[in-house]
């Protein structure tokens, strides 16, 4: 197969509430890097309804071309329909690689496209680099204690699901063009019928952009004690995070989940309260600038990654911290 004709990088930018999701724009920087090596272009694809502003944003964030597909039929995400659209765009553009953001829907869309296009797909990609002319993707194994470098040079396009928060948004302002495409929803391969979309959790939690995150784990003991985590987060102007056990115990809703199966975060300050530090959680906070951990078990693995580790029961430590930080803030 002559690979040289495949140069472009297609980046599927998902939108939420008519705006590009964070990882959508983040992907443009590794996409640009690879496109430059290949001598191709970065072509972002946005599918939805009334998302012109989002397309504009993508065009200003590092895409050479934004392919905008709008139709009321695409207002909500429908796996089969979106896969059809992406398939037809990809077949036309003939890209070298397709990047999809690691959101829940992105994780479904990518392998579906891979199966249809008979190509490979890498998941949860934390890094993209070029080695010996090959594009190398770094993915976690076993919750992140082991990393794996993979290549997909035997098929095109190579599809990669990029992890949210793993790439820094590009600062350069290339002014890309917007190409509107009219791709009507085909009846072919439409197997799902979305009967209802229910929003049970109304709060919006932006862990990915947070500067400060205060998280609680099972060590908080109860829903009542978990309030301490919220208090400290409020005091620091931060966002509340949680581990899976805390969520499963019903102390807080799952939009607060931090870790491999929740959100990958990179705040300036991360405070882990009553969190032992399971790999799945730790791998999601490793990019934090400063980690403070409070745990009563002095051997808790969380201390291995913490800048400051407080050995003690978070339920006793937190109230003192809250009071002391209050004092210091007032003194300022």
């Amino acid at each position: 197969m002559d690979m040289t004709e495949y140069k472009d990088i297609v980046v599927y930018i998902e939108t939420a509430d008519k705006s590009p999701v964070k990882v959508g724009l983040e992907m443009l920087s590794p996409a640009r890097k690879i496109a430059e090596k290949k001598g191709g272009k970065v072509r972002a694809v946005l599918i939805g309804d009334g998302i012109r502003t989002a397309a504009q944003k993508a065009a200003e964030s590092g895409a050479d071309e934004v392919i905008l597909i709008e139709s009321p039929e695409y207002e909500i995400f429908h796996l089969d329909r979106f896969a059809n659209v992406m398939e037809s765009v990809i077949k036309e553009v003939k890209p070298y690689a397709v990047f999809v953001g690691g959101t829940q829907d992105g994780k479904d869309l990518a392998p579906k496209l891979a199966a249809r296009l008979k190509t490979g797909c890498a998941s949860d990609v934390m890094d993209v680099k070029t080695e010996d002319g090959k594009t190398v993707y770094t993915c976690p194994l076993y919750g992140g204690t082991v990393l794996q470098d993979v290549v997909m040079e035997t098929s095109v396009p190579q599809i990669a699901v990029l992890r949210s928060g793993a790439f820094k948004k590009s600062e350069e302002t290339v002014k890309g063009t917007i190409t509107e495409k009219n791709i009507p929803a085909a009846d072919e391969n439409i197997r799902l019928k979305i009967k209802d979309v229910v929003k049970e959790i109304s709060e919006t939690v932006n862990l990915e952009d947070a500067q400060v995150i205060v998280s609680g784990g099972r060590g908080m003991g109860s829903r009542e004690n978990f309030e301490l985590v919220k208090q400290l987060a409020d005091l620091l102007g931060g966002v509340v995070g949680a581990t899976r056990p805390a969520i499963e115990d019903g102390w807080i809703s799952r939009v607060h989940q931090v870790g491999q199966s929740g959100k990958i975060v990179a705040p300036k300050l991360y405070i882990a309260c009553g969190i032992s530090g399971a790999t799945q959680h730790v791998s999601g906070i490793m990019n934090s600038d400063y980690i403070v951990a409070i745990n009563k078990d002095e051997d808790a693995p969380i201390f291995e990654v913490a800048n400051i580790g407080i050995v003690g029961n978070a339920i006793n430590v937190l109230p003192v911290m809250i009071e002391e930080i209050k004092k210091k803030k007032e003194a300022e």
Partner: protein
Amino acid sequence: MEILVCIKQVPDDSVEVHLTEEGKPDLANITPVVNAFDTYALEMAARLKEAGEGEITALCIGGEEARNSLKNCLAVGADHAYLVQEDRFDGSDSRGISHILMCAAKKIEEDTGKKFDLIFCGKEATDAALGQVGAELSEMLGTGVITNVIEVEFAEGQVCAKQETEEGYRLIETASPCVLTVTKPDYDPRYPTIKNKMAARKKPIGTIKAQDLSVLEPEKTGEGGAFVKTLKLYEPPKKEAGIKIQEETAQDSALKAVAMMADAKVF
């Protein structure tokens, strides 16, 4: 109602995996278990079966040691179990695995003369966490796929499932057969009862070899057939541990920590 549940045997995910000196995952002392999401899938399937009727077949690709995982499935709801045991399938990527599962499902259907109405998978495995097989398998079977399922109903050839989303759920309908990938529902998988476990030990586990698979395209399988090729495995650089504070009282520890945080200007 005929249900297929695809399971994967993985190392116990509560144990940290590191690399050996040769750079291979050191799994020697880690108990192999059924992937947690697959156990949720099996439990969901078992509840569906118990509410109606039908049979559950568990299917696994793996070595001899995976029989134990299948035996455990037979003790908690599966009626039949098959192991695809073929060395040359080792190193298959998601496409390869999905292809083998598709071929094995067809083979079981041929043998029993019954078609699967529902095919369950876990939403991902706890080791590689790719989450690709459900979607790939559905494309190969030409069926719909509903992912991240937390609840499912099945009646008259129609499947209606709740797909968990970040903010709530989507109610999605599709015709059977279809593929469902399961995430953690409200309930936990059951423990095997003593008698079911004893009975499961006596149930046969069918062995499927490459030659049994009539629609197999061997070039899609194994390391050679993988689109995704591993260059190397390595451990991430360890973050250096910082300072541990353990004063006489929680009060003292907290004060010291806050002082240090203030010095570091993190708030």
